[in-house]
Symmetry: C2
Subunit: 247 residues, 2 copies
Amino acid sequence: MKPLTPQELEAKLRAIGAQRYHRLHPFHALLHGGKCTKGQVQAWALNRYYYQAMIPVKDASLIARCEDPALRREWRRRLVDHDGESEGDGGITRWLKLTDGVGLDRDYVVSLAGLLPATRFAVEAYVHFVRDKTLLEAVASSLTELFSPQIISERLEGMLKGYDFVSADTLAYFAKRPPLARRDSDFALDYVKRHAKTPDAQQVVLKALEFKCDVLWAMLDALYHAYVAPKHIPPGAFVPEDGRRSG
Amino acid sequence: MKPLTPQELEAKLRAIGAQRYHRLHPFHALLHGGKCTKGQVQAWALNRYYYQAMIPVKDASLIARCEDPALRREWRRRLVDHDGESEGDGGITRWLKLTDGVGLDRDYVVSLAGLLPATRFAVEAYVHFVRDKTLLEAVASSLTELFSPQIISERLEGMLKGYDFVSADTLAYFAKRPPLARRDSDFALDYVKRHAKTPDAQQVVLKALEFKCDVLWAMLDALYHAYVAPKHIPPGAFVPEDGRRSG
Protein backbone atom coordinates (compact mmCIF):
# COMPACT_ATOMS: atom_id res chain seq x y z
CA MET A 1 0.00 0.00 0.00
CA LYS A 2 1.42 3.36 -1.07
CA PRO A 3 1.24 6.33 1.27
CA LEU A 4 -0.97 9.23 0.27
CA THR A 5 0.66 12.49 -0.75
CA PRO A 6 0.08 15.33 1.75
CA GLN A 7 -2.47 16.79 -0.69
CA GLU A 8 -4.32 13.47 -0.94
CA LEU A 9 -4.37 13.16 2.84
CA GLU A 10 -5.82 16.66 3.14
CA ALA A 11 -8.47 15.81 0.55
CA LYS A 12 -9.49 12.72 2.52
CA LEU A 13 -9.68 14.72 5.75
CA ARG A 14 -11.88 17.31 4.06
CA ALA A 15 -14.09 14.53 2.67
CA ILE A 16 -14.68 13.24 6.21
CA GLY A 17 -15.78 16.72 7.23
CA ALA A 18 -18.10 16.95 4.25
CA GLN A 19 -19.79 13.68 5.26
CA ARG A 20 -19.64 13.55 9.05
CA TYR A 21 -19.19 17.02 10.55
CA HIS A 22 -22.08 17.97 12.84
CA ARG A 23 -23.08 20.87 10.58
CA LEU A 24 -25.10 18.15 8.82
CA HIS A 25 -26.96 17.08 11.98
CA PRO A 26 -30.73 17.75 11.97
CA PHE A 27 -30.47 19.54 15.33
CA HIS A 28 -28.37 22.25 13.70
CA ALA A 29 -30.91 22.72 10.94
CA LEU A 30 -33.46 23.50 13.67
CA LEU A 31 -31.10 25.66 15.74
CA HIS A 32 -29.82 27.76 12.85
CA GLY A 33 -33.18 27.93 11.14
CA GLY A 34 -34.84 29.64 14.11
CA LYS A 35 -36.96 26.52 14.68
CA CYS A 36 -35.92 25.72 18.27
CA THR A 37 -37.91 26.67 21.33
CA LYS A 38 -36.13 28.75 23.94
CA GLY A 39 -35.88 25.64 26.11
CA GLN A 40 -34.14 23.76 23.30
CA VAL A 41 -31.65 26.60 22.81
CA GLN A 42 -31.05 26.57 26.56
CA ALA A 43 -30.47 22.81 26.56
CA TRP A 44 -28.01 23.15 23.69
CA ALA A 45 -26.08 26.00 25.37
CA LEU A 46 -26.04 24.19 28.72
CA ASN A 47 -24.73 20.93 27.32
CA ARG A 48 -22.26 22.54 24.96
CA TYR A 49 -20.88 24.46 27.95
CA TYR A 50 -19.31 21.26 29.25
CA TYR A 51 -17.55 20.74 25.94
CA GLN A 52 -16.19 24.31 26.04
CA ALA A 53 -15.14 23.95 29.65
CA MET A 54 -13.16 20.75 28.98
CA ILE A 55 -11.32 21.98 25.88
CA PRO A 56 -8.43 23.51 27.86
CA VAL A 57 -8.19 20.31 29.92
CA LYS A 58 -7.82 18.32 26.72
CA ASP A 59 -5.34 20.83 25.30
CA ALA A 60 -3.27 20.81 28.47
CA SER A 61 -3.09 17.02 28.40
CA LEU A 62 -1.79 17.25 24.83
CA ILE A 63 0.88 19.75 25.90
CA ALA A 64 1.69 17.56 28.92
CA ARG A 65 2.83 14.68 26.70
CA CYS A 66 4.67 16.69 24.11
CA GLU A 67 8.49 16.89 24.12
CA ASP A 68 8.82 19.65 21.53
CA PRO A 69 8.83 23.20 22.97
CA ALA A 70 7.74 24.66 19.62
CA LEU A 71 4.62 22.50 19.53
CA ARG A 72 3.95 23.19 23.21
CA ARG A 73 4.19 26.95 22.60
CA GLU A 74 1.91 26.75 19.60
CA TRP A 75 -0.65 24.67 21.47
CA ARG A 76 -0.49 26.94 24.50
CA ARG A 77 -2.30 29.66 22.53
CA ARG A 78 -5.37 27.49 22.76
CA LEU A 79 -5.23 27.64 26.55
CA VAL A 80 -5.02 31.42 26.34
CA ASP A 81 -7.96 31.56 23.93
CA HIS A 82 -10.23 29.54 26.18
CA ASP A 83 -9.07 30.50 29.66
CA GLY A 84 -8.17 34.13 28.86
CA GLU A 85 -5.48 36.32 30.40
CA SER A 86 -7.52 37.07 33.48
CA GLU A 87 -10.87 36.48 35.16
CA GLY A 88 -13.74 37.46 32.87
CA ASP A 89 -11.75 36.96 29.69
CA GLY A 90 -11.52 34.01 27.25
CA GLY A 91 -13.79 31.63 25.39
CA ILE A 92 -15.32 29.87 28.39
CA THR A 93 -16.42 33.19 29.86
CA ARG A 94 -17.87 34.21 26.51
CA TRP A 95 -19.78 30.93 26.44
CA LEU A 96 -21.21 31.78 29.85
CA LYS A 97 -22.40 35.10 28.40
CA LEU A 98 -24.33 32.99 25.94
CA THR A 99 -25.88 30.83 28.68
CA ASP A 100 -26.65 34.01 30.67
CA GLY A 101 -28.15 35.57 27.56
CA VAL A 102 -30.54 32.69 26.96
CA GLY A 103 -31.74 32.90 30.53
CA LEU A 104 -29.88 30.14 32.36
CA ASP A 105 -28.64 30.53 35.90
CA ARG A 106 -24.84 30.63 35.76
CA ASP A 107 -24.31 28.60 38.93
CA TYR A 108 -26.61 25.92 37.59
CA VAL A 109 -24.71 25.79 34.27
CA VAL A 110 -21.30 25.59 35.93
CA SER A 111 -22.49 22.96 38.42
CA LEU A 112 -23.12 20.58 35.48
CA ALA A 113 -26.09 19.28 37.45
CA GLY A 114 -28.42 19.37 34.44
CA LEU A 115 -26.03 17.89 31.90
CA LEU A 116 -27.18 14.99 29.76
CA PRO A 117 -25.10 11.97 30.77
CA ALA A 118 -24.46 11.31 27.08
CA THR A 119 -22.84 14.76 26.78
CA ARG A 120 -20.57 13.96 29.68
CA PHE A 121 -19.61 10.58 28.20
CA ALA A 122 -18.89 12.05 24.74
CA VAL A 123 -16.80 14.94 26.04
CA GLU A 124 -14.87 12.66 28.38
CA ALA A 125 -14.25 10.26 25.51
CA TYR A 126 -12.57 13.16 23.71
CA VAL A 127 -10.45 14.08 26.72
CA HIS A 128 -9.39 10.44 27.19
CA PHE A 129 -8.63 10.08 23.49
CA VAL A 130 -6.23 13.03 23.56
CA ARG A 131 -4.63 11.77 26.75
CA ASP A 132 -4.24 8.13 25.70
CA LYS A 133 -3.64 8.03 21.94
CA THR A 134 -0.50 9.07 20.05
CA LEU A 135 0.38 12.75 19.79
CA LEU A 136 -0.33 12.59 16.06
CA GLU A 137 -3.86 11.30 16.72
CA ALA A 138 -4.38 13.90 19.43
CA VAL A 139 -3.45 16.69 17.00
CA ALA A 140 -5.57 15.16 14.23
CA SER A 141 -8.64 14.99 16.47
CA SER A 142 -8.61 18.80 16.63
CA LEU A 143 -9.13 19.06 12.88
CA THR A 144 -12.89 19.54 13.09
CA GLU A 145 -11.84 23.20 13.45
CA LEU A 146 -11.16 23.10 9.70
CA PHE A 147 -14.91 23.06 9.21
CA SER A 148 -16.03 25.38 12.00
CA PRO A 149 -15.84 28.85 10.34
CA GLN A 150 -18.71 27.94 8.01
CA ILE A 151 -20.97 26.53 10.75
CA ILE A 152 -20.22 29.54 12.96
CA SER A 153 -21.22 32.06 10.30
CA GLU A 154 -24.45 30.12 9.66
CA ARG A 155 -25.10 30.04 13.38
CA LEU A 156 -24.46 33.74 13.96
CA GLU A 157 -26.71 34.79 11.12
CA GLY A 158 -29.41 32.19 11.76
CA MET A 159 -29.65 32.69 15.51
CA LEU A 160 -29.72 36.50 15.33
CA LYS A 161 -32.49 36.34 12.78
CA GLY A 162 -34.39 33.46 14.35
CA TYR A 163 -34.63 34.26 18.06
CA ASP A 164 -35.71 37.49 19.69
CA PHE A 165 -34.06 36.41 22.96
CA VAL A 166 -30.60 36.26 21.29
CA SER A 167 -28.47 39.41 20.76
CA ALA A 168 -25.11 40.01 19.08
CA ASP A 169 -23.68 40.44 22.57
CA THR A 170 -24.95 37.02 23.60
CA LEU A 171 -23.19 35.50 20.61
CA ALA A 172 -19.82 37.21 21.21
CA TYR A 173 -18.18 33.78 21.49
CA PHE A 174 -18.89 33.04 17.86
CA ALA A 175 -17.79 36.42 16.52
CA LYS A 176 -14.34 35.83 18.01
CA ARG A 177 -13.83 32.20 17.01
CA PRO A 178 -13.33 31.98 13.22
CA PRO A 179 -9.86 33.61 12.95
CA LEU A 180 -8.62 31.54 15.93
CA ALA A 181 -10.09 28.36 14.48
CA ARG A 182 -8.42 29.11 11.15
CA ARG A 183 -5.04 29.74 12.75
CA ASP A 184 -5.29 26.56 14.87
CA SER A 185 -6.56 24.28 12.13
CA ASP A 186 -3.99 25.56 9.61
CA PHE A 187 -1.29 24.63 12.08
CA ALA A 188 -2.77 21.22 12.93
CA LEU A 189 -3.39 20.36 9.28
CA ASP A 190 0.19 21.27 8.38
CA TYR A 191 1.40 19.18 11.33
CA VAL A 192 -0.44 16.02 10.31
CA LYS A 193 0.58 16.45 6.66
CA ARG A 194 4.22 16.64 7.71
CA HIS A 195 4.10 13.85 10.31
CA ALA A 196 1.70 11.25 8.89
CA LYS A 197 3.94 9.76 6.21
CA THR A 198 3.16 6.04 6.30
CA PRO A 199 -0.15 4.43 5.29
CA ASP A 200 -0.66 3.30 8.91
CA ALA A 201 -0.07 6.78 10.31
CA GLN A 202 -2.38 8.26 7.70
CA GLN A 203 -5.10 5.76 8.59
CA VAL A 204 -4.98 6.63 12.30
CA VAL A 205 -5.14 10.34 11.40
CA LEU A 206 -8.29 9.77 9.34
CA LYS A 207 -9.78 7.63 12.13
CA ALA A 208 -8.99 10.31 14.70
CA LEU A 209 -10.97 12.87 12.73
CA GLU A 210 -13.86 10.42 12.33
CA PHE A 211 -13.79 9.80 16.06
CA LYS A 212 -13.99 13.53 16.76
CA CYS A 213 -16.89 13.93 14.34
CA ASP A 214 -18.61 11.09 16.23
CA VAL A 215 -18.16 12.98 19.52
CA LEU A 216 -19.82 16.13 18.19
CA TRP A 217 -22.55 14.14 16.45
CA ALA A 218 -23.37 12.06 19.54
CA MET A 219 -23.83 15.25 21.59
CA LEU A 220 -26.48 16.46 19.15
CA ASP A 221 -28.15 13.04 18.95
CA ALA A 222 -28.57 13.14 22.72
CA LEU A 223 -29.97 16.69 22.64
CA TYR A 224 -32.39 15.77 19.89
CA HIS A 225 -33.62 12.67 21.71
CA ALA A 226 -34.08 14.50 25.02
CA TYR A 227 -35.47 17.84 23.83
CA VAL A 228 -36.82 17.59 20.27
CA ALA A 229 -38.28 14.14 19.71
CA PRO A 230 -39.41 12.01 21.39
CA LYS A 231 -38.41 14.32 24.27
CA HIS A 232 -37.30 11.58 26.62
CA ILE A 233 -35.33 13.62 29.12
CA PRO A 234 -33.08 11.25 31.10
CA PRO A 235 -33.54 11.18 34.89
CA GLY A 236 -31.83 14.15 36.53
CA ALA A 237 -31.16 16.18 33.37
CA PHE A 238 -32.25 19.80 32.69
CA VAL A 239 -35.98 20.21 32.23
CA PRO A 240 -36.82 23.44 30.33
CA GLU A 241 -39.42 25.95 31.51
CA ASP A 242 -41.36 23.92 34.06
CA GLY A 243 -38.39 23.95 36.43
CA ARG A 244 -35.94 21.26 37.35
CA ARG A 245 -36.78 17.63 37.81
CA SER A 246 -36.35 16.61 41.41
CA GLY A 247 -34.21 13.68 42.56
CA MET B 1 -24.81 15.45 59.17
CA LYS B 2 -25.39 11.99 60.63
CA PRO B 3 -24.35 8.89 58.67
CA LEU B 4 -27.09 6.57 57.45
CA THR B 5 -27.44 3.17 59.03
CA PRO B 6 -26.52 0.29 56.69
CA GLN B 7 -30.25 -0.41 56.31
CA GLU B 8 -30.97 3.20 55.39
CA LEU B 9 -28.14 3.18 52.87
CA GLU B 10 -29.54 0.01 51.29
CA ALA B 11 -32.99 1.59 51.12
CA LYS B 12 -31.57 4.64 49.33
CA LEU B 13 -29.69 2.45 46.87
CA ARG B 14 -32.86 0.49 46.12
CA ALA B 15 -34.77 3.75 45.66
CA ILE B 16 -32.27 4.82 42.98
CA GLY B 17 -32.90 1.55 41.17
CA ALA B 18 -36.66 2.04 41.43
CA GLN B 19 -36.34 5.48 39.78
CA ARG B 20 -33.42 5.25 37.38
CA TYR B 21 -32.69 1.63 36.41
CA HIS B 22 -33.04 1.07 32.65
CA ARG B 23 -35.90 -1.36 33.15
CA LEU B 24 -38.00 1.84 33.06
CA HIS B 25 -36.63 2.98 29.70
CA PRO B 26 -39.19 3.05 26.84
CA PHE B 27 -36.88 0.96 24.66
CA HIS B 28 -37.26 -1.95 27.06
CA ALA B 29 -41.04 -1.67 26.95
CA LEU B 30 -40.80 -2.18 23.18
CA LEU B 31 -38.18 -4.93 23.38
CA HIS B 32 -39.90 -6.97 26.05
CA GLY B 33 -43.37 -6.34 24.68
CA GLY B 34 -42.57 -7.96 21.33
CA LYS B 35 -42.90 -4.55 19.64
CA CYS B 36 -39.42 -4.30 18.13
CA THR B 37 -38.59 -5.10 14.52
CA LYS B 38 -35.92 -7.71 13.92
CA GLY B 39 -33.54 -4.91 12.94
CA GLN B 40 -34.16 -3.16 16.25
CA VAL B 41 -33.47 -6.37 18.18
CA GLN B 42 -30.28 -6.78 16.13
CA ALA B 43 -29.19 -3.22 16.88
CA TRP B 44 -29.80 -3.79 20.59
CA ALA B 45 -27.86 -7.09 20.66
CA LEU B 46 -25.01 -5.63 18.61
CA ASN B 47 -24.59 -2.58 20.82
CA ARG B 48 -25.04 -4.43 24.08
CA TYR B 49 -22.33 -6.84 22.93
CA TYR B 50 -19.74 -4.12 23.51
CA TYR B 51 -20.94 -3.66 27.07
CA GLN B 52 -20.71 -7.41 27.69
CA ALA B 53 -17.27 -7.60 26.10
CA MET B 54 -15.88 -4.80 28.27
CA ILE B 55 -17.24 -6.09 31.61
CA PRO B 56 -14.21 -8.33 32.31
CA VAL B 57 -11.90 -5.43 31.39
CA LYS B 58 -13.64 -3.27 33.96
CA ASP B 59 -13.61 -6.08 36.53
CA ALA B 60 -9.91 -6.74 35.96
CA SER B 61 -9.13 -3.08 36.48
CA LEU B 62 -10.98 -3.24 39.80
CA ILE B 63 -8.95 -6.29 40.84
CA ALA B 64 -5.77 -4.59 39.63
CA ARG B 65 -6.11 -1.80 42.19
CA CYS B 66 -7.23 -3.88 45.12
CA GLU B 67 -4.83 -4.82 47.90
CA ASP B 68 -7.08 -7.35 49.63
CA PRO B 69 -6.67 -10.94 48.38
CA ALA B 70 -10.15 -11.87 49.66
CA LEU B 71 -11.80 -9.14 47.61
CA ARG B 72 -9.63 -10.01 44.59
CA ARG B 73 -10.66 -13.68 44.84
CA GLU B 74 -14.31 -12.78 45.16
CA TRP B 75 -14.17 -10.40 42.21
CA ARG B 76 -12.25 -12.94 40.12
CA ARG B 77 -15.41 -15.03 39.85
CA ARG B 78 -16.79 -12.34 37.60
CA LEU B 79 -13.93 -12.85 35.17
CA VAL B 80 -14.68 -16.57 35.14
CA ASP B 81 -18.38 -15.94 34.55
CA HIS B 82 -17.78 -13.71 31.55
CA ASP B 83 -14.64 -15.18 30.00
CA GLY B 84 -15.35 -18.83 30.88
CA GLU B 85 -12.92 -21.62 31.66
CA SER B 86 -12.08 -22.23 28.03
CA GLU B 87 -12.86 -21.16 24.49
CA GLY B 88 -16.59 -21.35 23.79
CA ASP B 89 -17.58 -20.97 27.43
CA GLY B 90 -18.70 -17.93 29.46
CA GLY B 91 -21.05 -14.99 29.23
CA ILE B 92 -19.47 -13.23 26.27
CA THR B 93 -19.74 -16.38 24.17
CA ARG B 94 -23.36 -16.80 25.25
CA TRP B 95 -24.00 -13.22 24.17
CA LEU B 96 -22.54 -14.07 20.76
CA LYS B 97 -25.03 -16.96 20.55
CA LEU B 98 -27.68 -14.31 20.93
CA THR B 99 -26.22 -12.14 18.16
CA ASP B 100 -25.86 -15.27 15.98
CA GLY B 101 -29.43 -16.24 16.80
CA VAL B 102 -30.86 -12.91 15.70
CA GLY B 103 -29.02 -13.19 12.40
CA LEU B 104 -25.94 -11.01 12.83
CA ASP B 105 -22.58 -11.95 11.37
CA ARG B 106 -20.26 -12.77 14.25
CA ASP B 107 -17.18 -11.18 12.72
CA TYR B 108 -19.13 -8.00 12.15
CA VAL B 109 -20.36 -7.96 15.76
CA VAL B 110 -16.90 -8.57 17.20
CA SER B 111 -15.29 -5.96 14.91
CA LEU B 112 -17.44 -3.27 16.61
CA ALA B 113 -17.62 -1.59 13.19
CA GLY B 114 -21.36 -0.97 13.48
CA LEU B 115 -21.42 0.22 17.07
CA LEU B 116 -23.18 3.48 17.89
CA PRO B 117 -20.50 5.95 19.03
CA ALA B 118 -22.71 6.79 22.03
CA THR B 119 -22.56 3.12 23.11
CA ARG B 120 -18.80 3.21 22.94
CA PHE B 121 -18.62 6.45 24.94
CA ALA B 122 -21.01 5.19 27.63
CA VAL B 123 -19.25 1.83 28.06
CA GLU B 124 -15.85 3.49 28.15
CA ALA B 125 -17.11 5.97 30.72
CA TYR B 126 -17.95 2.96 32.91
CA VAL B 127 -14.51 1.38 32.40
CA HIS B 128 -12.79 4.68 33.19
CA PHE B 129 -14.96 5.22 36.24
CA VAL B 130 -13.94 1.87 37.72
CA ARG B 131 -10.30 2.51 36.89
CA ASP B 132 -10.12 6.08 38.21
CA LYS B 133 -12.50 6.39 41.17
CA THR B 134 -12.10 4.92 44.64
CA LEU B 135 -12.43 1.18 45.16
CA LEU B 136 -15.63 1.80 47.11
CA GLU B 137 -17.16 3.70 44.18
CA ALA B 138 -15.98 1.02 41.76
CA VAL B 139 -17.73 -1.68 43.83
CA ALA B 140 -20.84 0.48 44.22
CA SER B 141 -21.12 1.04 40.47
CA SER B 142 -21.73 -2.70 40.04
CA LEU B 143 -24.89 -2.52 42.14
CA THR B 144 -27.24 -2.29 39.18
CA GLU B 145 -27.02 -6.09 39.38
CA LEU B 146 -29.34 -5.80 42.38
CA PHE B 147 -32.11 -4.98 39.93
CA SER B 148 -31.22 -7.29 37.05
CA PRO B 149 -32.99 -10.54 37.98
CA GLN B 150 -36.38 -8.89 37.48
CA ILE B 151 -35.52 -7.34 34.12
CA ILE B 152 -34.01 -10.60 32.94
CA SER B 153 -37.09 -12.63 33.73
CA GLU B 154 -39.28 -10.06 31.94
CA ARG B 155 -36.91 -10.16 28.99
CA LEU B 156 -36.79 -13.96 28.77
CA GLU B 157 -40.54 -14.30 28.88
CA GLY B 158 -41.29 -11.28 26.70
CA MET B 159 -38.78 -12.07 23.98
CA LEU B 160 -39.68 -15.77 23.71
CA LYS B 161 -43.33 -14.86 23.37
CA GLY B 162 -42.82 -11.80 21.17
CA TYR B 163 -40.37 -12.88 18.46
CA ASP B 164 -40.52 -15.97 16.27
CA PHE B 165 -36.81 -15.50 15.44
CA VAL B 166 -35.81 -15.89 19.12
CA SER B 167 -35.43 -19.32 20.77
CA ALA B 168 -34.63 -20.42 24.34
CA ASP B 169 -31.22 -21.43 23.02
CA THR B 170 -30.60 -17.92 21.69
CA LEU B 171 -31.40 -16.53 25.14
CA ALA B 172 -29.12 -18.90 27.06
CA TYR B 173 -27.19 -15.90 28.39
CA PHE B 174 -30.19 -14.73 30.36
CA ALA B 175 -31.13 -18.11 31.76
CA LYS B 176 -27.70 -18.35 33.39
CA ARG B 177 -27.40 -14.80 34.75
CA PRO B 178 -29.86 -14.37 37.65
CA PRO B 179 -28.13 -16.59 40.25
CA LEU B 180 -24.74 -15.09 39.38
CA ALA B 181 -26.14 -11.57 39.53
CA ARG B 182 -27.68 -12.34 42.93
CA ARG B 183 -24.43 -13.75 44.31
CA ASP B 184 -22.42 -10.78 43.00
CA SER B 185 -24.81 -8.08 44.07
CA ASP B 186 -25.29 -9.59 47.54
CA PHE B 187 -21.54 -9.43 47.98
CA ALA B 188 -21.20 -5.89 46.63
CA LEU B 189 -24.12 -4.61 48.68
CA ASP B 190 -22.68 -6.11 51.85
CA TYR B 191 -19.30 -4.56 50.96
CA VAL B 192 -20.63 -1.03 50.56
CA LYS B 193 -22.77 -1.35 53.70
CA ARG B 194 -19.68 -2.34 55.68
CA HIS B 195 -17.29 0.21 54.12
CA ALA B 196 -19.39 3.32 53.53
CA LYS B 197 -19.63 4.59 57.10
CA THR B 198 -19.34 8.38 56.79
CA PRO B 199 -21.91 10.68 55.15
CA ASP B 200 -19.34 11.56 52.45
CA ALA B 201 -18.59 7.93 51.65
CA GLN B 202 -22.30 7.16 51.55
CA GLN B 203 -22.89 10.06 49.15
CA VAL B 204 -20.26 8.84 46.70
CA VAL B 205 -21.73 5.34 46.87
CA LEU B 206 -25.16 6.69 45.94
CA LYS B 207 -23.64 8.85 43.18
CA ALA B 208 -21.76 5.83 41.81
CA LEU B 209 -24.99 3.89 41.43
CA GLU B 210 -26.67 6.88 39.77
CA PHE B 211 -23.72 7.15 37.39
CA LYS B 212 -24.07 3.49 36.45
CA CYS B 213 -27.81 3.87 35.88
CA ASP B 214 -26.96 6.82 33.58
CA VAL B 215 -24.59 4.59 31.58
CA LEU B 216 -27.26 1.96 30.95
CA TRP B 217 -29.92 4.59 30.26
CA ALA B 218 -27.75 6.50 27.77
CA MET B 219 -27.14 3.29 25.81
CA LEU B 220 -30.89 2.85 25.34
CA ASP B 221 -31.45 6.53 24.54
CA ALA B 222 -28.94 6.19 21.70
CA LEU B 223 -30.59 2.99 20.42
CA TYR B 224 -34.01 4.60 20.52
CA HIS B 225 -32.84 7.71 18.67
CA ALA B 226 -31.05 5.73 15.96
CA TYR B 227 -33.46 2.84 15.45
CA VAL B 228 -36.92 3.65 16.83
CA ALA B 229 -37.62 7.36 16.44
CA PRO B 230 -36.66 9.51 14.67
CA LYS B 231 -34.34 6.78 13.27
CA HIS B 232 -31.35 9.05 12.78
CA ILE B 233 -28.63 6.46 12.39
CA PRO B 234 -25.25 8.17 12.96
CA PRO B 235 -22.72 7.99 10.10
CA GLY B 236 -20.98 4.61 10.02
CA ALA B 237 -23.30 2.77 12.44
CA PHE B 238 -25.19 -0.48 11.77
CA VAL B 239 -28.03 -0.12 9.28
CA PRO B 240 -30.60 -2.95 9.61
CA GLU B 241 -31.91 -4.98 6.70
CA ASP B 242 -30.90 -2.84 3.76
CA GLY B 243 -27.23 -3.65 4.33
CA ARG B 244 -24.46 -1.58 5.79
CA ARG B 245 -23.93 2.10 5.20
CA SER B 246 -20.79 2.69 3.21
CA GLY B 247 -17.98 5.03 4.35
